[in-house]
Amino acid sequence: MSRKAAATRRRAWAATRYHVIGLVTSLLFIAPIAWSMLVSFKSTTEAARPPLPPWPVEGFTTQSYENLAQYGVGIWTYAGNSLSVAAATVVVTVFISLLAGYGFSRFQFPLKNALFVLIISTVMIPFQSILTPLFLILTRLGLQNTLPGIVLIYVTLHLPFSIFMMRNAFDAVPKEIEDAARVDGASVFLMLRRVMLPLVLPGVATVAIFAFLASWNEFLAALILLTDQRKYTLPVMMAAVRSGQFGTIDWGAVQSGVMLMMAPCLGLFLLLQRYYIRGLTAGAVK
């Protein structure tokens, strides 16, 4: 009887420990986000005061968001720029890496492995070190200070990882499925679309999430390659907000900007996380 009681106590203690540690860890992660969110609902004057308590004591207000909306040429221009750059980057990256990954996975051609290693090895070059040549190339192409120009840069940066991901995803699809589709009369493109694409969707989701997050948050290349204020993306605009106007920094606007930038990333991740985990581990185990 007492042994049973001891076992129960031990289990209860283990469960408590588990939950307390989990709770503390998640609080650590949630705290900064919650803090930002609470500050973003303070009034401008309150947001400028010492930060404790973190919640608005003078009542919730959307004043910070309104300030942010009127910043520069208007927040929706910047958000639109960011969104179109990120979306275009995702579409182009997914399209190219899908075809390239399929090719590397399934076709035999001379220097295949050398080419693959070459593509992957470009990851090792820090892109900051080639910003000047990139700038010159874009200028020569007449794409400097344009959104398509920055999309091209982002696609180039994400392709090595994306091709690697997609090749792994295609490698994980049994070749016999493709054979069956060929016997059924599917052409290469029909097979890719109707049979292979649904099977590598986790890989596509992973590539899309990475491409979106990276291009949505990218700052340095956007700062250097975009000079026209109307073409700024959100990170560049946020840097301008943070550095303040006439020596004052609107902390409420900064925090509301943080909220604004986080929302699509969070939404996309929640939407695709089911695929994302599968994509990263595809082919790891049978």
């Binding site: 060929r182 009369g185 649904p198």
Partner: protein, 360 residues
């Protein structure tokens, strides 16, 4: 519902991967409506040969004709074939119905017609209740039925099976084997079936093609291949337990020396005097008894009890291990000395090179 039957003809077909020939110039004629089984050890090229017929593997040299038409350079879909794969190869993201319909959709068959054909195939294979499920929700046997169904709806001239039962458990394999045999009877199509399981080969085939290292070792009915193997390889490969091979030296006419024992056979031995020869006798053609003439002394190593039969493994004085099949009779104990006699009419002779020699 007997379909028109198509012959398959391989003319000097060769396949190489780089400098390595995996199929050596190979000729074969499969008659219309015939059930031919390719059998051989792994790596013998049987699956490659099937994939070449299907059009999934390029042919390095030679021609493949289906129903008299040269299909060597045609796409798989245009050859009039359907294939069933070992791993089923169903499309995991499609329902059973969509799996069956996929090929017809690509061929732009009208929707109503697709529906009719899919339902008909489902009826034949008794998979009607499964049509709306995904492959992941099916058992192995059900998946293989769907894979066969996908082949049937295409109304092919020729069915190709690539080890379709290897992934199933033993019990299911027996019932699916019967199913495939029934299908062949009902449809009457030409079928080629690849397997390494000789029970499947023996039970299903009209003719067996035994392959080794990309070459045909023998083509014949199951009975012919079993009873008159063309060489030592076929003798050893077909039949389980395998045929016993004993080394001997021809003395003269119908006498042969095996180890230190002299055996006189009823018929003359197809070998010259003093020539080395191998004698093949299947396990069921031996009998064991007490000391007697014309028998080989042997010692029992171990016995396997299988219910209706018993396999007794004995060591001859020559060192050869002989397996004999017994039904009833006293049990042989390890270490026991026996005298083995064989049914003389069942003795096969092989030259030292391995080729069969016809006794008279």
């Amino acid at each position: 519902m007997t379909a028109e039957t198509a012959t398959i003809e391989l003319r000097g077909v060769r396949k190489s991967f780089g400098p390595v020939d995996v199929i050596h110039k190979l000729d074969l004629l499969v008659k219309g409506g015939e059930f031919v089984v390719f059998v051989g050890p792994s790596g013998c090229g049987k699956s490659t040969l099937l994939r070449m017929i299907a059009g999934l593997e390029d042919v390095t040299d030679g021609d493949i004709l289906i129903a008299g038409r040269d299909v060597t350079d045609l796409d798989p879909a245009k050859r009039g074939i359907a294939m069933v794969f070992q791993s089923y190869a169903l499309y995991p993201h499609m329902s059973v119905r969509e799996n069956l319909a996929f090929g017809l959709e690509i061929a732009k068959v009208p929707a109503a017609e697709i529906r009719r054909q899919v339902d008909a195939a489902a009826e034949v294979l008794k998979i009607g209740p499964l049509l709306d499920r995904r492959p992941g929700q099916l058992s192995g046997g059900q998946r293989q039925r769907v894979a066969i169904g996908r082949a049937i709806v295409r109304k092919p001239l020729v069915f190709l099976f690539d080890e379709p039962l290897s992934n199933l458990d033993a019990e299911l394999r027996v019932s699916m084997r019967a199913e495939i045999a029934r299908l062949h009877r009902e449809l009457g199509n030409t079928m080629i079936y690849v397997t390494h399981d000789q029970t499947e080969a023996m039970t299903l085939a009209d003719r067996i093609v035994v392959l080794r290292d990309g070459r045909i070792e023998q083509v014949g009915s199951p009975r012919a291949v079993y009873e008159n193997p063309a060489n030592l390889f076929v003798a050893g490969f077909i039949g389980s337990p395998r045929m016993n091979i004993v080394d001997g030296t021809c003395l003269d006419g119908n006498r042969v020396a095996i180890g230190g024992t002299e055996i006189t056979l009823e018929a003359p031995i197809p070998a010259a005097a003093a020539e080395k020869i191998k004698l093949g006798v299947r396990p069921e053609h031996w009998s064991a008894g007490q000391a007697q003439d014309n028998a080989l002394p042997a010692q029992v190593e171990f016995a396997e009890y299988l219910g209706s039969t018993r396999y007794v493994h004995c060591r001859l004085a020559t060192g050869d291990l002989i397996t004999i099949e017994q039904r009833g009779g006293p049990e042989a104990l390890p270490g026991e000395n026996l005298w083995l006699r064989c049914d003389q009419r069942a003795v096969k002779f092989f030259a030292a090179s391995g080729e069969a020699r016809q006794g008279s």
